[in-house]
Symmetry: C2
């Protein structure tokens, strides 16, 4: 997606240690118009797979998931939580996810009541690097016996393993932009 | 807002200890069409105040904030984070917020670069109980010398102090539904 590629090149920053900062439009400040155009692109690509619910994980996946749901005739969104919390249900599906940003393991969880067996799930997330979050969400779907009809990613870091693993598994993966590398000068190399 | 009131009465649950569970449409599973109608209601009420950015706090405020931004000609959204993290900027505004759900203090923070002095801020959140999160967001705006032109809340718990405190301070507060109490039978009493 050319507009996203341009935004990454013009506004994104490589911080070292493979950390890419795009918080001026995707995961702290949101460029609302861009988010909805990204959602529309996911909707166009995955509509034929007839998803019934959009699954993401809090927090920064929520905006893209909602925009995608809006473009798919207001499908419901389910966002996995990073802690069980006081207000959660009893029938939880849980999966461990390692956060490289915060350097710790979290259990992500969903209330099974919202993923009835057989529900066709479209997974949406803002970033794909090592693929931990998507792996966790696929585990949640497996526990609930729900098929994953596709995975839509805003920005894939092509030099980490997440995307390769999903493609090897035969997952229908759409990444709207792929950062293929970081030049020695700290410039982001992007396809999309 | 009658549709929201009906959703709370039909689907919400009182869990005891003043915890109200509405995670089937507002803060775990999202009813996309309802979220956008709530956003449209905020937009209609606050449009004349000419907000320039929507401020919320991760995670469950993001959906409502984005829907409101969409209805206000694609205003940008800024969501305060609950941890500084590895990918954050250096110029952070921070404020302490107590979470009754998780029974601990968090610092919420925003990158000051995204709240330039004088920016007109509309605060949006899903819930208002004791008002901790909104108080924290107002502190962030104060640190950045940005006026808060209004506060839009999905569900206010009218039997807790947050709403009263804001009204006493002269804040332009719109709560789309107010839970005024919980009956001895555990029924939610709602206005909206």
């Amino acid at each position: 997606m050319r507009e996203l590629r341009d935004a990454i090149i013009q506004k994104g920053k490589a911080l070292g240690g493979n950390v890419v900062k795009v918080d001026m439009f995707l995961n702290h400040r949101l460029d609302t118009a861009l988010i909805f155009r990204m959602g529309a692109a996911f909707a166009e690509h995955f509509r034929a797979k007839q998803p019934e619910v959009i699954l993401t994980v809090e927090a920064s996946g929520i905006a893209l998931a909602l925009a995608t749901a809006r473009a798919l005739s207001d499908l419901p969104v389910l966002f996995a939580k990073k802690s069980a919390g006081a207000a959660q249900g009893e029938g939880l599906a849980q999966a461990p996810v390692y956060s490289f940003t915060h350097k710790k393991w979290n259990n992500i969880c969903v209330d099974k009541a919202y993923l009835p067996e057989g529900t066709r799930v479209l997974i949406i997330d803002d970033f794909l690097a090592d693929g931990q979050a998507v792996r966790g969400m696929r585990m949640l779907c497996e526990q609930c016996a729900c098929p994953v009809v596709g995975v839509g990613i805003g920005i894939e870091k092509g030099f980490q393993d997440g995307g390769m693993d999903l493609r090897r598994d035969g997952v229908n993966l759409l990444s709207l932009a792929v950062i293929t590398g970081i030049s020695p000068e700290g410039e982001l190399l992007v396809e999309g």
